[in-house]
């Protein structure tokens, strides 16, 4: 790469997709170009050097969802190159790399594909056109006769060809053209390209955040108050400081940090730090108490009406048959397998950090405020991420590492233990749903009144998001105002009622109320967010209604989805592939669920058996419609993943509090599904050429209700509390 002093930097203001700056860098002298490769950078997403290295910049973070492969396919489609032949680079924390849908440089909300669908194809097409133009001029042939294929420009009539790199310098001198994107006859889009990151994920060479090696960096652990929000009153570190390998013990806002030679030394010493805590207002908090409050609030009906159609109350009062049910969902931890960690090096004028964060953008804005430094003095190195699921949209772990480094004046890697992670997380909030429904004399569902009691997600994290959005360009405000800013400011918070508020079923009289009950417990975004609990309520309740009406659960839903085609299509596809209505082996029973989230549609049929109080899931059949599929291999993987993730929360785990303390510690009491419990999972994708929508999250919500409905079919017992337990119900 040529150095800045040796090149003129030309900037053009062409906006691509999310408003990317177009930069064309040129060498000042030919002599310099001969010595060092010239870089053709038609936009912020792509670089081609004269020695033929094609680099694409990843806007999203790769946390397992496969975006480093699928986004490579988008750019490769238009550029004319094998996606595996490009070099991957993570985007620096910079507003230029904000997601075109969310207006934040954050990976969440299942927007990685939807938000990059246009920008990457534009980037590839722009570069291709410029390379074609450069080649056509140099050969003196008409540009339309030239094609870009496999990393080269070809002119078949004269049998001439040249690698992209050969034309990089000439292309860099051309104006950036307008381009038209291919809408059909895709060559790379739609192909089951194997994961491009797989090779480095099977030999231990991939560097996750926790693997980062920074010269002179110490390891640190933080002793935190067992009660969320508690503060250090005083501490005695004399014993810890005397231990081998320990360098510093310092107070930071989140607790007391022990800085040592290795994690092991720090962890050993941390056990000897004596802290007196001010446990704060949550010291008496318990899940049992919360549940009681939730149920009371759900029955009192003092919520804010967030959606209504017809007159649900009137219809309920005159209905021939009224059903009523309450569903509960517990707090949940994301339990990413890579524990939280960050390596930070803070000096008096600069902050550099290596963080497995889902949002370098939000982190940077928070650091600017914390440290008072300019954006240019804050360097965030995005790392590979060992599982996100929304956990790393909160930046607590990264800010904490910055505090520790600042306190000791050295580069420090802070690593959380599994116990730290389990007990100090922004949890999926607990929620209680009360649903009342009315059936008319013909068994039609004519009224649905739904009350959601939970705490607000955006009430806690929203401030940082809002600041980050406002700090961006005005264009973002428009797209975000409706989505996040307005609901947040008006305390309505759609994430708490999503999936309930937008019920797909054609019920004439519908009322949805939100009772916001704050606990003070830190909460965050958990894979599928509000849908993770709301679909359990809606899909259980519609199943209860079907049985009360004496109708088949698939037929009952199908009738209610008469005008909701995409919901109905996936329902029908899953039912057909699962053999709905056909005989099963003795002891096996089916349950179904269908739900729309993140603009995608997923249905699942679960096949279970019950022995005593043990629920065994044998088979999950899923059908999905997520618009245009960029890579079916990855879409299938995300749905398989969602099924396993959904089964863990349906059957295995919860976070509970007593005296303000999380009762779970590690994977023995916060269990995840294991190999021997994993059913056969079959995925069917419904063909659809609409623009791509989310797929990382939409598979999760249907799993718990499909299993609960199958358990009802097996036992006649309605399990309305997550995680599902026949023991608790008997």
């Amino acid at each position: 790469m040529t150095t800045l002093s040796r090149r003129a930097l030309l900037k053009a203001g062409l906006a691509i997709g999310g408003g990317l700056l177009v930069e064309v860098s040129l060498p000042q002298a030919q002599a310099a170009a001969a010595a060092e490769p010239v870089t053709f950078q038609p936009n912020g997403l792509l670089r081609i050097t004269s020695n033929d290295v094609v680099t694409f910049v990843l806007l999203s973070v790769e946390m397992g969802q496969g975006v480093s492969t699928s986004n490579a396919q988008l750019i490769a489609e238009e550029l004319g190159i094998d996606p595996a032949k490009m070099v991957l680079e993570f985007a620096p924390a910079d507003r230029r790399y904000d997601n075109s849908l969310s207006g934040l440089q954050a990976t969440g909300g299942s927007t990685s594909t939807a938000g990059s669908w246009e920008p990457y194809r534009m980037a590839g097409a722009t570069a291709r056109e410029m390379l074609l133009e450069a080649a056509a001029r140099s050969w003196g042939v008409p540009k339309p006769e030239c094609v870009a294929e496999d990393g080269a420009i070809l002119h078949k009539a004269t049998n001439r060809s040249g690698r992209f790199g050969q034309f990089a310098e000439a292309a860099a001198r051309l104006p950036v053209p307008d381009v038209t994107l291919r809408t059909r006859d895709f060559r790379v889009i739609g192909k089951p390209v194997p994961r491009l990151d797989a090779a480095a994920k099977v030999d231990g060479s991939l560097v996750f955040g926790i693997d980062v090696k920074v010269p002179e960096a110490r390891s640190a652990v933080v002793v935190r108050c067992p009660v969320p929000g508690g503060q250090v009153k005083s501490f005695d570190a004399s014993a810890a400081k005397a231990m081998s390998g320990v360098e510093d013990v310092v107070q930071v806002p989140s607790g007391v940090a022990v800085v040592a030679k290795t994690y092991w030394h720090a962890r050993q010493a941390a056990a000897h730090v004596k802290v007196e805590w001010d446990e704060g207002p949550l010291a008496g908090f318990s899940t049992a108490g919360l549940l009681e409050t939730h149920r009371k609030l759900a029955r009192e009906g003092q919520g804010k009406r967030v959606h209504s159609k017809g007159d649900a109350e009137a219809a309920l009062s005159k209905a021939s048959r009224v059903l009523e049910a309450e569903y509960t969902a517990p707090f949940l931890a994301h339990a990413t397998l890579e524990p939280q960690n960050t390596t930070a090096h803070v000096t008096s004028s600069k902050c550099e950090l290596w963080a497995p964060t889902q949002s370098p953008g939000i982190l940077k804005e928070q650091l600017k405020r914390l440290l008072g430094y300019d954006g240019d003095d804050i360097i965030i190195h995005q790392t590979w991420i060992g599982g996100g699921f929304g956990r790393r949209l909160a930046q607590d772990f990264a800010l904490e590492a910055v505090e520790v480094s600042r306190a000791v004046g050295k580069p420090v890697k802070v690593v959380w233990s599994r116990e730290d992670d389990m007990r100090h997380s922004p949890y999926r909030p607990a929620a209680t749903h009360r649903v009342q429904g009315a059936l008319d004399a013909q068994g039609r569902l004519v009224a649905w009144k739904h009350t959601v009691v939970t705490q607000s997600l955006l009430g806690q994290i929203g401030e940082h998001w809002l600041r980050a959005i406002i700090a961006g360009s005005p264009g973002f405000m428009k797209s975000m105002a409706a989505g996040i800013a307005v609901p947040m400011l008006s305390a309505k918070d759609d994430t708490s009622v999503e999936g309930a508020k937008d019920l797909a079923y054609g019920v004439e009289n519908l009322a949805v109320d939100f009772v916001r009950h704050e606990t003070g417990i830190p909460v965050g975004l958990y894979r599928s967010v509000g849908h993770s609990h709301s679909a359990f309520a809606t899909e259980s309740f519609v199943d209860e209604a079907a049985h009360a009406a004496g109708q088949d659960p698939v037929a009952f839903r199908r009738e209610l989805l008469k005008f909701e085609h995409r919901n109905r299509w996936v329902l029908e596809l899953a039912a057909e592939k699962a053999g709905w209505g056909t005989p099963l082996p003795p002891g096996r029973f089916r349950g179904v669920a269908v739900h729309k989230s993140f603009n995608s549609y997923v249905a699942a049929v679960a096949e279970v058996s019950v022995e005593g109080t043990e629920i065994r899931v044998h088979r999950i059949v899923m059908a999905a419609d997520c618009g245009r599929v960029v890579n079916p291999n990855l879409v299938e993987a995300q749905l398989e993943s969602a099924a396993v993730f959904g089964l863990s929360s349906a059957l295995k785990h919860r976070i509970s509090f007593e005296n303000g303390r999380v009762q779970q510690r590690n994977f023995h009491d916060f269990e995840l599904l294991r190999m021997h419990e994993t059913p056969k999972i079959e995925v069917h994708i419904r063909h659809n050429e609409a623009s791509p929508t989310g797929i990382g999250e939409p598979g999760v919500p249907v799993i718990a209700p499909a299993v609960a409905n199958a358990v009802f079919a097996a036992t006649g017992k309605r399990l309305r509390d997550l995680p599902l337990s026949l023991e608790a119900a008997s």
């Binding site: 397992g64 994920k201 099977v202 231990g204 991939l206 092991w264 397998l337 969602a642 590690n666 021997h676």
Partner: protein
Amino acid sequence: MVKLVINGVEQEFDVPEDMPLLWVLREVAGMTGTKFGCGAALCGACTVHVNGIATRSCVMPVGTLAGQRITTIEGLAQGGARHPCQRAWAELSVPQCGYCQSGQIMSASALLAAQPEPTDEDINAVMSGNLCRCGTYPRIRAAIHRASELAKVERVDLKAAIGMAEKKEGH
């Protein structure tokens, strides 16, 4: 000083005898392919081979391992040839985030050394000790069968592939 043979190379480490092998590998030897997940032998992310036996390194004090043959994910490929598990894993796009996969592959390669053609029950029995939060279990199962097939077709000795000599060596 503790003397360990890691991936065929003898090395000496000035560490406390009760320091778990995991942290010696990661923070003293600088080999980060072996992962920290739970610190309590509950998740399997830290799995390595000790004399060919899958072992949770997070609870294994190095003092007990003097002179023992330790293989980590970095040493699984031999002479540039990737283990059939590594190839099958990539072929079937098994990894998602990939964090648990070092441990999964170390467990699976030890299983295949003992059972070159494992049944689904064999896979359940051994692999249930390794957690994957991304839920790649169905593909891990398929990849173990695929690795078994690759080894059969290519006549790979699955014991030798994890550094266990073919000669009868009791352990």
